[in-house]
């Protein structure tokens, strides 16, 4: 699904990722953990194609293609989805129209018929239930006036509607109280399938109590220092990140 080899990324001329290797197979859930400033969000952004994140070395292979040659919208149509750490408010752009345009662009690209208003609404109602979205979300502008938790839920709601092949969840757990976290995690778990891969970028192990990863990676200073199974997350929670760094030094 996703194969990252020796990835170096610079932002504003400063090297942030310094040789990342990552292999995610279809259906797998990988957690990228690490202290603040380790490069976690840079990895998420470079996968989605944000301007200013320059790949200086290495490669990102997605379903056999060089992902770095694609524009962000092309990546989205190819099935890459980024759930933002800080979802942006877009006044005047309606949530639902955006989602409909997004879904139909993706379906068209896949050679599927576009959904009409009725079919789309049926799908939306079904997926709203997954993350317990209140009805009035539909009539509001994108994220406008949403609480931090609502914004995060809206990201997962979009994930549920767009059904990507590869979803990158950037700090989705931050700003969520325990109940909201459970709702979001349940939503994500229900979307797991053998064809869909997830990359969870997170600072805390908390989320991984609910979404059980196949692999956990520790990112520090732009490199993956250690990889392991889900038990690695518990160890990190108990011991912090310093011992990994010390062991790697």
């Amino acid at each position: 699904m996703l194969e990252i080899k020796n990835l170096h990324v610079a932002v504003d001329g400063k090297e942030i990722l310094k040789g990342v290797n990552l292999h995610v197979r279809p259906g797998e859930v990988h957690a990228i953990m690490g202290p603040n400033g380790s490069g976690k969000s840079t990895l998420a952004n470079v996968l989605a194609g944000r301007d200013g994140y320059v790949v200086t070395k290495g490669e990102i292979n997605y379903l056999g293609r060089d992902l770095t040659t694609l524009e962000p919208e092309e990546r989205a149509r190819e099935g890459v989805f980024l759930a933002f750490q800080y979802p942006v408010e877009i006044p005047g752009v309606n949530n639902i129209y955006l989602l409909k345009a997004a879904l139909n662009a993706i379906r068209k690209h896949r050679g599927q018929p576009e959904l009409d208003a009725v079919e789309f609404l049926a799908l939306v109602r079904d997926r709203m239930g997954l993350v317990k979205m209140p009805e009035d979300f539909m009539s509001r502008s994108v994220n406008e006036g949403f609480s931090g938790g609502e914004k995060k839920r809206n990201e997962i709601f979009q994930l549920a509607v767009l059904e990507p092949r590869l979803a990158i969840l950037d700090e989705t757990d931050s700003g969520l109280d325990i109940d909201a976290l459970r709702v979001v995690a349940d939503g994500v778990n229900s979307l797991r399938n053998p064809e869909r891969s997830l990359v969870l970028v997170t600072h805390y192990q908390r989320l991984l109590d609910y979404i059980i990863p196949d692999q956990v990676h520790v990112l520090s200073d732009g490199r993956i220092l250690k990889s392991g199974g889900k038990e690695l997350a518990l160890e990190l929670e108990a011991r912090g990140y310093d011992w990994v760094r010390a062991a790697a030094a």
């Binding site: 989605a48 194609g49 919208e73 989805f81 955006l98 767009l162």
Partner: protein
């Protein structure tokens, strides 16, 4: 100090015959003429005009355009009569009878060209005309009174609510030489009266002409006026528009001012909240491209307690366009418990576009709520990226954000045909308009 050029401008003016011609107005005209001669045109040295250079107007001589026919297509495109409005049409400054009969208005309501006013209507005119617009404010206001041509007289009696919108359409066709008009309107709403009035200014793109329009408004106690001003003049037009309003107790003005056309245009709104509980809502949108210069000046005087004003203007600039927003709010010392809010947001889409935004608050009362905020920005990269990660192509995302920015001030429009026209005018300028139209429906 009379400037010879100003004298010459007046002498060479061959705009349409001044209206109203009633003798009672002659002294006002003479005074205005004197005021204009004394004051002349505003210059960049006047604080209120420092960003708007009117020398292109002052240096031209404007003739009457009455010999030039106005294309029916031009007026049809700007008309709201098909949308159910009661419309008065003025072609090159002169009243023209509409082809279709206008829908009937309630008894006692007067909507007519001033040129047709009879003796009794002249009495209402005499009681109000010239009372609300201050000829000493600047030269163009004096010039309008000195040369005022035809315009509408609208009188809504006490307790009458007019639900049919009244539309005033001013269309100009430029001739081989620059032409000029000074339309003058008067809108009087009695106690608890209500009305919707649309002023639309349009013209041809192929020549130069000047529109120097003034509308005076008096709102009686409890009256409600929804006022629209659509400036969609021709590409080479000069346009000056002033709306001067005086409001009585608990009256409510909702003004929507849209500046789209013209080469050099200025729209002014002066509102006096002259009695307790008076409210004014001012919405505005200016969309300027190429080398257009669009100036928006508003002044709201909170003269009495418990008066409120809420102002929201937005601007979208491309090319080498230049825009000005100057919002003055004066809270007088007796105007305790007043509430004044002002927001001006600007979107600059090119490196060469420029906007000067200037909120001006003068507060002489101590128990008031006042706020203002002005922003000038480009399209937000985070928003663009977010939309693109949702499979929206970059060009469409850009257009969508521009449209959404303008939509904030288009959305509050109550009369749907105007909203549709604005959406079309704004969308029409954007790439991928068709895609976005689908989006926003």
């Amino acid at each position: 100090m009379s400037d010879p050029a100003v004298h010459e401008f007046l002498e060479s003016w061959r705009g349409v015959t001044p209206v109203p011609g009633a003798p009672w107005f002659a002294p006002q005209r003479a005074a205005a003429r004197q005021a204009f001669q004394a004051r002349g045109f505003p210059t960049l040295h006047d604080e209120d005009w420092k960003y708007t250079d009117v020398r292109p107007i002052a240096s031209r001589r404007f003739g009457s355009g009455t010999e030039t026919g106005v294309d029916a297509g031009l007026t049809a495109a700007a008309s709201f009569s098909a949308a159910g409005a009661h419309e008065l049409l003025f072609l090159n400054g002169q009243f023209a009878t509409a082809a279709d009969p206008a829908p009937a208005l309630p008894a006692g309501v007067i909507v007519m060209p001033m040129s047709r006013a009879d003796a009794r209507q002249n009495e209402s005119l005499a009681a109000h005309l010239g009372r609300y617009a201050d000829i000493n404010k600047h030269g163009f206001l004096a010039l309008n009174t000195a040369l005022a041509g035809d315009g509408a007289l609208i009188f809504i009696p006490d307790n009458v609510e007019v639900t049919i919108p009244v539309s005033l359409l001013f269309a100009s066709a430029a001739g081989p030489q620059p032409t000029g008009t000074c339309p003058r309107n008067l809108i009087i709403l009695g106690r608890n009266a209500a009305a919707t009035v649309i002023e639309c200014y349009t013209g041809t793109d192929d020549g130069e002409y000047l529109t120097n329009a003034v509308t005076e408004v008096r709102l009686g106690a409890g009256a409600r006026l929804e006022h629209y001003r659509l400036q969609q003049e021709g590409k080479r037009a000069y346009h000056l528009g002033n709306l001067s309003v005086q409001q009585d107790q608990d009256s409510r003005l909702v003004s929507h001012a849209f500046a789209l056309g013209g080469a050099l245009a200025r729209n002014e709104i002066d509102v006096r909240l002259a009695a307790r509980g008076a409210q004014a809502v001012l919405n505005g949108l200016y969309v300027a491209g190429e080398r257009q210069h669009l100036d928006n000046h508003t002044r709201i005087d909170h003269e009495q307690p418990h008066t409120t004003s809420a102002e929201h203007y937005r601007g979208v600039l491309t090319g080498r366009a230049r825009a000005v927003f100057n919002g003055k709010v004066v809270v007088h010392k007796d105007a305790q418990k007043s509430d004044a809010r002002q927001v001006n947001a600007n979107l600059l889409l090119s490196d060469d576009a420029e906007v000067d935004t200037k909120p001006e608050l003068e507060i002489y009362a101590d128990d008031v709520k006042c706020s203002h905020g002005a922003t000038i920005g480009r399209l937000d990269d985070n928003m663009l990226f977010y939309l693109r990660t949702r499979a929206i192509p970059a060009a469409v995302a850009r257009s969508l954000l521009i449209y959404a920015f303008a939509e904030e001030v288009i959305q509050p429009i109550g009369f749907a045909p105007i909203r549709a026209r604005l959406e079309q005018r704004v969308l029409g300028r954007l790439p991928d308009a068709e895609v976005i139209r689908e989006f926003v429906q």
